[in-house]
Amino acid sequence: MIFRKLKRADSAGGIWGPVAVVVAGLVLLVGAPMVTGTFGLLQLTVLAALAIFALAQGFIWGFGGILCFGQSAFLGLGGYAYAVGALNMTDTTGAVALAIIVPMLFAALLGYFMFYGRISDAYIGVITLTVSIILFDLFNSTSGDIYHIGQAPLGGFNGIPSVPPLNIPGNPDAQLDTNGLWYAAMGALILCYILLKWILASRFGRVVVAIRENETRAQLLGYDPRLFKLLTFIIGAGISGLAGCLYTNWGAFISPTVFSLTMSAQVIIYVLVGGLGTLIGPILGAVGIQYLINVAGGQHVIDPNLLLGIVLVAFVLLVPQGVVPVIRAGFRRLIPAKQPSTTLAQPVSQEASR
């Protein structure tokens, strides 16, 4: 299984790895508007939104061991919550809050039934996938005047156009331009990364990882795995909702395609390609895969779905641990001095196969 290959991935790196990532992020945050034009900046903005989405999936799957195949449900709910909120309020700050809270509430409800029902990982995958499909159908069926929330028509398959952009909190007239949106998206990505690093270093995060490693043992130590998984799931949903909010802002538009299976598959692929049990992996995975899709889509050489399918199958068969852990392991083989435990590694005991 994939998890057996994680081993050191999440505890490695110490403090300097994350600091380097944050510094690189800040350099990009400040530098990008100086070197690229409006079009490039918009491209980078959507990448940042998708990277946040990938972080959420990477957190709940790679660290929480929760197999959510329908993370797009939360992305979509966040996007719609923002659109509806922004169309009903003059200040969009409240809409941002809605975009985070609505998916969290939905995740709390769904997660309660799943985790307290103690269903297997595979069932969780199937249920979450099903939920995203049904949300897709549900929002698709909302065309017509009777489907509206306050001032916001839901618009069925066509979605909601002309969603008002973010503004400076407390000042509805100060709407963000392309540069402002970039700062917001990239800033949010950096903050989410720091937040998740902090959570993982906290006692809560350590228990979450311990539950992934051995649920029975964690339970015998007095931790309730159901509660920890539920909280992890809710955190992931909130972050996905934020990503959905930024995604909606990027196009000033939201439609049911955010709930689509392709969206859920894409985020799974980001995480799988980048590396389970890392935070930087999903970010890099998102950037790499989106780049591939853009190239393929621009050249019309290969259908994007076909490309995604091939990448997914290839990684499951050939590189199930993802790119970042493979590179890390490579480096460790080159520079062995620091971690005696990995170089003196004895054969891994076969207990896990029981």
């Binding site: 290969i302 259908d303 499951v316």
Partner: protein
């Protein structure tokens, strides 16, 4: 009174439809504990097989009842040999790989046939229930669903293959000791499940239309029904189809099909809280 007749008929067809779209998924899950996320795309392939055969002048019944299942069964065979067999015992990886397959098949069929939906003619007309007209084709769906389930049940309980399959499900090593290679059984089972998906796709093609993304319309219901039914394929699929088909059709009749689907999901989510192992995980455990 006529209305009750119509609603009753529609509920029957709803149950038959759900049973038909679930049985292929249920066979693979029940016997191999693999959840095939490409199930909807196998159905889609069956629909395209029917469409292509029909446009080449082959009789529609032969196209949907014979060509579609055989073609998709062969595809299943190839998929099992080239992909699934490397992943036995890795349930999650199998799900991811079949998801990749699902995306790949959608992409492939889009590249070949394009996005626009194709039609397959409905081979039978309609009949009247009092003032209401109902499609005779509903009967076809119900009959095919019953035949598929009954045929599978007969095969499990009467044939040598069925005996071996039951033994392999219970204990792979024991079957191997009896001189039967489990890989052969798994291969045949996966092909059979794929063929049943192809059959469902072929039979439903006249109603749903044929397009690369049509699978997504079915899999939500199929997944819910398999989870709800539990490990016993025939009993579980039948009972869960009955329950969910009733809920789906009844709620759809009272509101819209989408709300029917939502009701289905709610019922399933509440059910996994009460019966995490599905209906046959709790009751009728020794059934097939």
């Amino acid at each position: 009174m006529d209305l009750y007749g119509l609603v009753g008929f529609n509920i029957l067809v709803g149950i038959g439809t759900i049973a038909l779209i679930t049985v292929g998924l249920g066979v693979i899950y029940g016997m191999m504990k693999i959840i095939n996320l490409a199930h909807g795309e196998f159905m889609m392939l069956g629909a395209y097989a029917t469409y292509v055969a029909n446009t080449h002048g082959i009789n529609i019944w032969i196209a949907m009842l014979i060509i579609a299942p055989i073609f998709v069964g062969l595809v299943g065979l190839v998929v099992e040999r080239c992909l699934i067999r490397f992943l036995y015992g890795r349930m999650i990886d199998t799900m991811l790989a079949t998801w990749g397959l699902s995306l790949g098949l959608i992409g492939l069929m889009t590249s070949i046939f394009g996005n626009d939906p194709r039609g397959v003619p409905t081979p039978v007309g309609s009949f009247s229930i009092g003032h209401y007209a109902a499609s005779l084709y509903g009967f076809v769906i119900v009959v095919v669903a019953i035949l598929a389930l009954a045929g599978f049940y007969a095969m499990l309980s009467l044939t040598r293959y069925g005996l071996i399959v039951r033994a392999t499900m219970q204990n792979p090593n024991m079957a191997a000791a009896l001189g039967v290679a489990p890989p052969t059984i798994y291969m045949a089972t996966f092909a059979l499940g794929a063929a049943l998906a192809g059959l469902a796709g072929g039979v439903l093609a006249p109603i749903s239309g044929v397009s690369p993304v049509m699978g997504a319309a079915f899999i939500a219901k199929a997944f819910i029904t398999v989870l709800g039914g539990g490990a016993a394929i025939v009993t579980g699929t039948s009972l869960a189809s009955g329950l969910f088909g009733f809920i789906d059709t009844f709620v759809s009749f009272k509101s819209t099909p989408v709300i029917g689907e939502v009701a289905l999901l709610l019922a399933a989510v509440v059910m996994i809280r009460i019966l995490p192992q599905g209906i046959t995980g709790r009751f009728l455990r020794r059934s097939l």
